[in-house]
């Protein structure tokens, strides 16, 4: 009972302060490559803008922190508090805005440096990725053979060796997976990795199927709601998904209907909660 209490208490405050910054990356998600494709100079204002946005986003937390502090002061770690306080101070003191600007510039410079080597060459006209045709082809296959709206998004993950990345609609996932395995053009018989991510707005299961002959790898993402996360199991298709899915179920609480033996794998069987969820509250806050 006390555990339940704990969880409910914990559930409520924790996602709140974070939900605001989260909306922003989700909006950015399709545009992930854009800042990189842009010139470094264009990057600086973007970063500054981000920096400017951050204080705005963070003004509510201090107010709320006080509340939570009152409730469970022991749970707060001193370092976190200090950092939080410093951030709040930086945001509130208008005189320090300039300093924040320089900080932002330093960060932007760093990322600009790195972009200068990788993205700089192809910056001005934005060359299409060498894997773009492959991505288009896969998306076309999925649309043709599975469903017109099977593909939610399709983009190239440039830093990751131009990996064709597709977001597959949840309800068509099982069929799409079968297609990836059996379609003679794709025939991805090897599933490299399965991982689950909690994006706070939704859950995502990421699959990396690979065709060993052509050495073509894809990244497939399946999104699911956070309250009732469900993704069809692909264990019947790729045996290797078995334990991976159990692990994701264990740590993130995503249900995999169709899995032959969905039990906890890492945590004890009687564990409460799924530790890798962002709203997870540890049983013992001191740990």
């Amino acid at each position: 009972m006390s555990e339940e209490n704990n969880r409910e208490q914990g559930d409520a405050p924790v996602p709140d302060p974070k939900s605001e910054p989260v909306a922003e990356p989700q909006a950015e998600l399709p545009a992930v490559e854009q800042p990189q494709a842009e010139t470094p100079i264009a990057n600086i204002p973007a970063a500054e803008q981000q920096q400017a946005e951050q204080p705005v986003a963070e003004t509510p937390p201090p107010a709320r922190r006080v509340e939570t502090d009152e409730e469970k002061a022991a749970r707060r770690k001193a370092s976190l508090e200090a950092r939080e306080a410093a951030k709040a101070a930086a945001a509130q003191a208008a005189g320090l805005a300039a300093q924040a600007g320089t900080e932002g510039r330093a960060v932007a410079k760093a990322s600009g440096d790195s972009d200068g080597e990788g993205g700089g060459e192809e910056a001005p006209p934005r060359e299409p990725s060498p894997n773009q045709p492959r991505l288009d082809r896969v998306a076309a296959i999925l649309r043709e053979l599975v469903s017109e709206d099977a593909v939610e998004e399709a983009y190239i993950n440039e830093p990751n060796d131009h990996l064709p990345t597709l977001v597959v609609k949840n309800e068509f996932w099982l069929k799409s997976a079968e297609l990836f395995r059996n379609h003679e053009e794709l025939s991805c018989s090897y599933l490299r990795n399965v991982s689950g991510v909690d994006y706070e707005t939704h859950m995502e299961v990421v699959y990396y199927p690979l065709n060993m002959d052509t050495r073509h790898c894809y990244c497939l993402k399946v999104r699911t709601s956070r309250d009732q996360p469900t993704v069809s199991s692909v264990t019947p298709i790729w045996e290797t998904a078995n334990w991976n899915e159990r692990e994701i179920y264990d740590l993130l609480g995503i249900d995999f209907p169709g899995h032959p033996d969905l039990r906890r794998i890492m945590m004890p069987d009687d564990w409460v909660g799924h530790p890798l969820r962002k709203d997870y509250v540890p049983l013992d806050p001191e740990v």
């Binding site: 800042p35 490299r192 990396y208 790729w238 890492m266």
Partner: protein, 366 residues
């Protein structure tokens, strides 16, 4: 007809041959296994959860503790992922250092496997021979970074320490000696009739099964699939060196044994070339921002660890800490095939098969 009952036997978590805290619940009919259920998680430390609150440099020591027999490759996969996300350039000397320590680590890891595998099969001496050779490698690592098992040697952008005076020469001597020692090992063990009869034809599977189960490393190559990430998807400087990827035919424990022994030879070959081409001077640390903040995005990189494909999936939101960090641990994935292999085998073969898969529990449980 005699009425017999099945015996439910807990092998592990404290058992000499599970190589750590791993448990298999086996149902025995006499000494024949009718069902096997692996139970793990005894060494689960929540590395992935911990990582979400640490910056990338702080995560590196945690990777040491995953596959503690091959910490260097774990270091590398994380650093490599972050570098790729940030598009960092690594100085050549640093990359050479990384490659050399990774290949030394592969030799050391296979030596541990060789020794402990023979210990599982009942021969005690090879274990000590293997460890005395591994000791030399650990000694050299100790000179390099002050640790013998958990090195924390690599950094995003390079390596922490340059090779001390005379270190490269030492590695060269070691590589030369190791060839000779390997011949001795083969003389002692590889032709032993008892040993061969213990491992030939045991734990057999075909290439299709291996791919279906997502096996990697020697577990995959023993079925004849030529798949070594150093060749298939070259990373680091592996495309500069000449080496072969040995493959097996039958997919049994004997093939896995031979492959790993041959992989030591190939690693020594790479080492010889790398030590020859080692740049005389240069930086060991690239230009890296003070705080490592990979740009928002997602990446999955994979390298060939001694146990197979070790991968690192990072979701970043542009902060100093990863938003989500997931390791694809080869031991964990390779272990999945175990229950399938065990059915119908005897208790003795359980040890042979489990040892042949080559798992490290720190990595299985992560």
């Amino acid at each position: 007809m005699i009425r017999t009952e099945e015996l439910l036997l807990n092998v592990g978590p404290q058992h000499p041959s599970t190589h750590g805290v791993f448990r298999i619940v086996v149902k025995l009919d006499g000494e024949v296994i009718t069902e096997a259920t692996p139970v793990m998680g005894y060494l689960h430390r929540g590395t992935e959860k911990l990582a979400e609150n640490l910056n990338f440099t702080q995560i590196i020591p945690y990777t040491d503790r995953m596959d503690y027999v091959s910490a260097m490759t774990n270091n590398y996969v994380l650093c490599h992922a972050v570098e790729k996300m940030m598009g960092l350039e690594i100085p050549e000397r640093a990359e050479f250092m990384r490659l050399i320590v990774m290949e030394m680590q592969r030799v050391a890891s296979h030596l541990v496997w060789w020794g402990t595998y023979l210990l599982d099969i009942g021969a005690i001496s090879p274990f000590l021979y293997a460890f005395s050779d591994r000791e030399r490698i650990l000694g050299m690592f100790n000179e390099l970074c002050g640790a013998r098992l958990t090195y924390n040697y690599m950094r995003v952008g390079g390596v922490k320490w340059d090779a001390p005076e005379g270190w490269i020469e030492k590695v060269k001597t070691f590589v030369k000696d190791m060839h000779y020692r390997l011949d001795e090992y083969h003389n002692l063990v590889s032709g032993n009739e008892i040993f061969l009869s213990r491992i030939k034809g045991i734990g057999k599977y075909d290439a299709k099964t291996a791919i279906d189960y997502g096996l990697s490393g020697a577990n995959l190559r023993c079925t004849g699939v030529q798949w070594d990430l150093r060749k298939a998807e070259p990373y680091s400087l592996y495309d500069r060196f000449e080496f072969d990827v040995p493959v097996g035919k039958n997919g049994d424990c004997f093939d896995r044994y031979e492959l790993r022994m041959e992989e030591i030879v190939q690693s020594l070959r790479i080492l010889e070339q790398a030590l020859e081409q080692f740049p005389g001077d240069g930086e060991t640390m690239g230009k890296v921002p003070r705080v490592i903040r990979p740009p928002a995005g997602e990446i999955y990189v994979r390298i060939e660890s001694p146990r197979g494909e070790i991968g690192c999936h990072i979701v970043s939101k542009g902060k100093a800490e990863p938003y989500r960090l997931k390791f694809r641990r080869p031991s964990f994935v390779n272990l999945q095939i175990l229950p399938k292999l065990l059915v119908g085998e005897s208790m003795t073969n359980l040890v042979t098969i489990l040892g042949g898969i080559d798992i490290v529990l720190g990595e299985v449980d992560c």
